[in-house]
């Protein structure tokens, strides 16, 4: 073999090996049963009274609200109460989406956790894929007082009469404002009641922020912007969908998009795009932002000024605030022993005392009404009234999210694309919505409709 020819073959073989790795990266090697989606069999009912809990379980979390130490403390408390069960905490991603992607990728393997974070836009996909367990029976067996869950939170995980997760780190978007800048601008110590009012205030607030900034800082991105924008589209009488029917072409939805456009690109625009709006807010670069309630503790710790919290402003047609955050689910493919141990863990860390502890240390809302009214939380609300705002907003303004965002796989990412077109490029809202609506409909047709 000549040197040249040998080298050529070596390079060709190297190329083949390198590109072959793609096949490995592209997918695992699942066993796929072809057929009608509706034919998937429901799991047999388990007699939980005859099951002994497993001695070890694994929990995949992204530690929402920088809560790793808090979660470790919750595990320590559980292991003290149940010394027969060990819990391993695994950092399975930096955010809800990364945990979900890892969970999806592991779905055809035996490397699944016993408890997994299941955010508002992912749990239904898990359910469609028969990946998670309906929790009603096992929680009933454990005498879990599910009636005590904040009803709006627990109902979020209900489909066809069964609950597929329990609420854990639940939140709503919250309006954060810098009280020092508010005072310097001569504004009352409260958040704006309407977006129109914030528009009026923006003139005096502009003088309080750096010249290259704006009074309101907002971030975009998956699992985020399509969440807070619900407040704006609802405030203009629109919505993403009417149940499964996309309604982005309705005049009200376009009006909501136009409001967003003008917020960033109008003649009197007063919002700027932040890579990390809570960091910019805490640094005083912007005077106000919209953040998750789960960011409250972090913002309070980081800010050197007094932080104000308020309801999200209303639009001309009212408003509303979406609930969000994450619940906890149990994979359907685990053994009944592992599922029972996992259910005991879920029940424990969402109990009154533990959800109050989690709330105090993160800003996420307590998921039980008994916790909201508990002496511990009452003391927290008195000492730090900002924690109370989210709870009050929940009862006054909460509204279930539009179906397509939370139930159609990848619709959140598609909606984010439309919102970013408007925010980053200044695209006309009708054009932006028109470009994404067919994608959402395709996602529904491919990934939801066959399974209903």
């Amino acid at each position: 073999m000549s040197h040249r020819s040998h080298r050529r073959r070596s390079l060709a073989a190297s190329a083949l090996v390198a590109v072959g790795a793609l096949g490995l990266a592209a997918c695992t090697t699942p066993t796929i049963a072809t057929g009608d989606a509706a034919e998937t069999a429901a799991s047999d009912a388990v007699d939980w009274s005859s099951v002994e809990p497993a001695s070890q379980i694994t929990w995949w979390s992204n530690h929402p609200g920088s809560s790793k130490a808090v979660e470790e403390e919750l595990i320590a408390r559980f292991e003290e109460a149940h010394p027969e069960i060990d819990v391993e905490l695994v950092t399975a991603g930096a955010n809800y989406d990364e945990v979900a992607q890892r969970f999806q990728a592991a779905s055809q393997t035996s490397e699944l956790p016993d408890v997994v974070i299941s955010s508002d836009v992912w749990w239904f996909r898990y359910h469609l894929n028969d990946q998670i367990l309906a929790l009603d029976d096992v929680l009933e067996h454990l005498d879990g007082d599910t009636d005590d869950f904040v009803s709006a939170f627990y109902a979020d995980y209900e489909y066809e009469g069964q609950h597929w997760a329990v609420p854990y780190a639940r939140s709503t978007p919250l309006f954060y404002y810098n009280k020092d800048k508010w005072a310097a601008a001569g504004l009352p110590d409260r958040g704006p009641e309407t977006w129109a009012e914030l528009q009026e205030w923006s003139t005096s607030l502009t003088a309080q922020v750096p010249a290259d900034s704006k009074p309101l800082g907002m971030s975009t991105g998956p699992s985020w912007s399509a969440w807070w924008f619900e407040n704006m589209i609802w405030g203009h009488g629109g919505q993403y969908s009417d149940e499964w029917t996309t309604t982005l072409d309705a005049p009200e939805a376009v009006a909501g998009g136009q409001f967003l456009h003008d917020l960033f690109h109008g003649d009197a625009a007063y919002a700027t795009v932040s890579e990390d709006s809570t960091a910019d807010f805490a640094a005083g670069v912007v005077a106000a932002t919209i953040g998750s309630t789960g960011s409250l503790k972090g913002i309070l710790d980081a800010a050197s000024f007094e932080v104000g919290t308020a309801f999200l402003p209303d639009g001309p047609d009212g408003g509303g605030v979406p609930t969000g955050g994450t619940g906890l689910a149990i994979p359907a493919s685990k053994t009944p022993e592992e599922q029972l141990a996992a259910a005991m863990f879920l029940q424990f860390i969402t109990s009154t005392e533990q959800t109050a502890y989690f709330s105090q240390n993160t800003g996420y809302m307590p998921v039980r009404t008994s916790a909201i009214e508990s002496p511990e939380m009452t003391a927290v609300y008195e000492a730090t009234p900002q924690f109370r705002t989210a709870v009050d907003q929940l009862s006054a303004k909460a509204r279930s999210q539009d179906w397509i965002r939370v139930f159609v796989p990848s619709a959140d990412q598609i909606l984010t694309e439309g919102i970013e077109q408007i925010v980053l490029r200044g695209t006309d809202p009708a054009t932006a919505w028109g470009s994404i609506a067919p994608k959402i409909e395709t996602a529904y047709r491919e990934n939801v409709e066959p399974y209903l």
């Binding site: 060709a12 190297s14 090996v17 590109v19 790795a21 009608d36 989606a37 998937t40 795009v273 491919e446």
Partner: protein, 321 residues
Amino acid sequence: MTAVLAPPAGAGPTRRPAPPPSPAPGSAARARRRRALAWFALLAGPNVALLVLFVYKPLVESFYLSTMQWNLGSPVARFVGLGNYVEWFTADSTARVLTTTAVFTLTTVGGALVLGLGLALLLDRRLPGRGLARTVAFAPYVLSGYAVGILWLFIFDPRYGLMSAVLRGFGVASPQWYTVEPWPLVMIIVVYLWKHLGYVALIYLAGLQGVPQDLRDAAALDGASPGRTLRSVVLPLLAPTTFFLLVTMMLASLQSFDVIRSMTQGGPLGSTTTLMYQIYTEGFVNGRAGYASAGATILFLLLLAVTAVQLRFLERKVHYA
């Protein structure tokens, strides 16, 4: 994701045993052949088995999946034939993904070759601290691409980053690296170049040290300037090195993932979504495993074609010493 070039199968001393010089008695010849075959199976078998298991089997399965409409994680899938391919070739996003892929690949490969050669020429000189400089230049290549991306995100931060401070020092406002096109693409190109420059320089350095000094001396005696010597003596002798780097860097660049994943996640608005990143997004974010597999098959064919073209046309111009 960067390409990892495994040792090519079949390269090395595995050679078909020479036939016996003359027809031997049947049983002895058969025994020799069996022994040779057994040795071949013993030596090549594990390598071949690994290749089949981890390369060719997934490749075949990936193609199989590309004919399905399958929601990743779902227990059921639907056969759609070439539907995923039709959709990919007719999608609005395809042209943009291919353009981004081409821009990213050509600028990173071209930039790495030019800058890497320049760095190698510099490091080839007898300068004080040369060993340390070589180590420093190569170090980024061994760092995790994800960690490098995170680090550079801080540097590029338009408000607080080092780059912003430097630009402000020159009286220039920082571009909006994260949000305004085409800066996010420029940002990941710069980072990818920085990470791979040391690798290219190191390979070029090895090539430079293989250039006979007497040829340079002869050129100098003939009155050739350093530039002319580089152009007419050194570069032609570096042609095999350049060709090797061209092939490997192009494969690596087309499969780049970690820097994009850590810095832009393909955004904003898909402006940094290469074909490789699209495969990831469709498969693991959107859950469209069949469509993602179609993309993977297309990328496989693209890489094969690029490599074949390089072998067919460029290698003709390469002179091996």
